[in-house]
């Protein structure tokens, strides 16, 4: 075979090639073990395991931002830029609470406003004073309305709720007095609230005393009921309820 002929034969060997299927399959196999690229900053972010799960990144980041935002807004007072966010969480808390809990939460919020007023007075934040007093008065008014709307069947089935309401009202009265002495001004009338609480105590105690009177009680319980009735007749409705509560929880 001549050299030129041999070279021609060699060049014809260029036609030797693998099947297209094998070429495609092998290529797939080479890259199959590799995780698919997740983005521009994958190299840096993949250092932190949480960033490898990119799909979960957005919701996690949103939740973290919200938690941070709500945490930060807890220190705001009425009149601050982000107080509306805090107010939003308070409203959400009220929306998802039961009828019995609503006035109690309103009273807790009113107490919170009083605490904020104390901070405002300490920091001499005059700008926040008026909005905070207004918020306090709104909480008191709403709590009064909620108490007036109370169904006797609800309160009588849970006398402890009234006990907590009474405790919260007492705390409110103490705080209000303290803040008013610091500010040197009256920050709102709680007369209506006190009347509402008193009315509620009276109604509930009367209902429960009548209800317990129809039942067969032990000697000890009968004594407690007599004491409750005496307190009621003396106008001490809260103390009367206290006795009934002890009797009911024995």
């Amino acid at each position: 075979m001549k050299q030129s002929q041999l070279v021609r034969q060699l060049k014809s060997l260029r036609e030797t090639k693998p099947s297209d299927n094998w070429v495609a399959f092998t290529k797939e196999r080479i890259f199959a073990a590799e995780p698919s690229p997740v983005g521009l900053r994958a190299g840096i972010l993949s250092f932190f395991p949480v960033f490898r799960y990119r799909l979960a990144l957005a919701p996690i980041a949103s939740v973290l931002v919200l938690i941070g935002l709500f945490g930060f807004t807890q220190n705001t007072v009425p009149g601050d830029f982000l107080f509306s966010v805090k107010k939003m969480t308070e409203n959400a808390q009220l929306t998802f609470s039961s009828g019995v809990e609503k006035p109690q939460i309103q009273l807790k919020l009113a107490n919170k406003r009083l605490e904020e007023l104390g901070r405002i007075a300490e920091g001499n934040q005059v700008r926040n004073l008026d909005p905070t007093i207004k918020e306090f008065q709104l909480n008191i008014a709403q709590a009064t309305r909620d108490l007036a709307a109370f169904n006797i069947n609800v309160t009588s089935s849970d006398p402890s709720a009234i006990k907590e309401l009474v405790a919260e009202t007492r705390k409110l009265a103490e705080n209000k007095e303290r803040i008013e002495s610091v500010l040197g001004a009256v920050i709102g009338d709680t007369g209506e609230l006190n009347s509402a609480i008193l009315q509620l105590e009276k109604q509930t105690a009367a209902y429960l005393i009548a209800d317990l009177g129809k039942r067969t009680l032990s000697e000890e319980d009968t004594q407690l009921l007599i004491q409750a009735r005496d307190e009621f007749n003396a106008g001490n409705f809260a103390t009367s309820l206290e006795k009934i509560w002890i009797l009911s929880n024995k």
Partner: protein, 166 residues
Amino acid sequence: MSNLRKTYSETYDKYVKKIYRFVLLKVNSAEIAEDLTSEVFMRGWESFKANRDKIENIQAFLYQIARNLLADHYRHEAKAQLVSVEYAPPLPDRKQDLEEAAFLQSDLERVKAALSDINDDYREVIVWYYLDELKVSEIAKILNKSEPTVRVLIHRALHALKVELK
């Protein structure tokens, strides 16, 4: 990673047929050639990811992996042949030999057979120079030899092939 993948994917498309042919002309078995070629690109990808900047000539790099794998393959084959005759495959019968001989009559098959029988260095330069059309300078880089040495090697390789074909 995405860029690396793209670059290596293009490299694969460009060289897979050449590497396959380079391997096939040595091993004379499509199946073994496929296995070894895929191993070349697997190893190439691992190295490419880890040391991309250190690879100056990807073509030379892939051929070098192929040469190493072929050497390993034949080393392993040589060991495998050191078995008892009891386990050796039966000898082909004479009739089959004649049929194969008839098949090898075609010039192309003769050239292929001769290529797989000559010295490895000779076969490599023939494939690179005549089939892959690499320049002498490129072959010199792969073999880490001077260009005049490569020219002499190509000349001797062709002569050896002619002798094998006689």
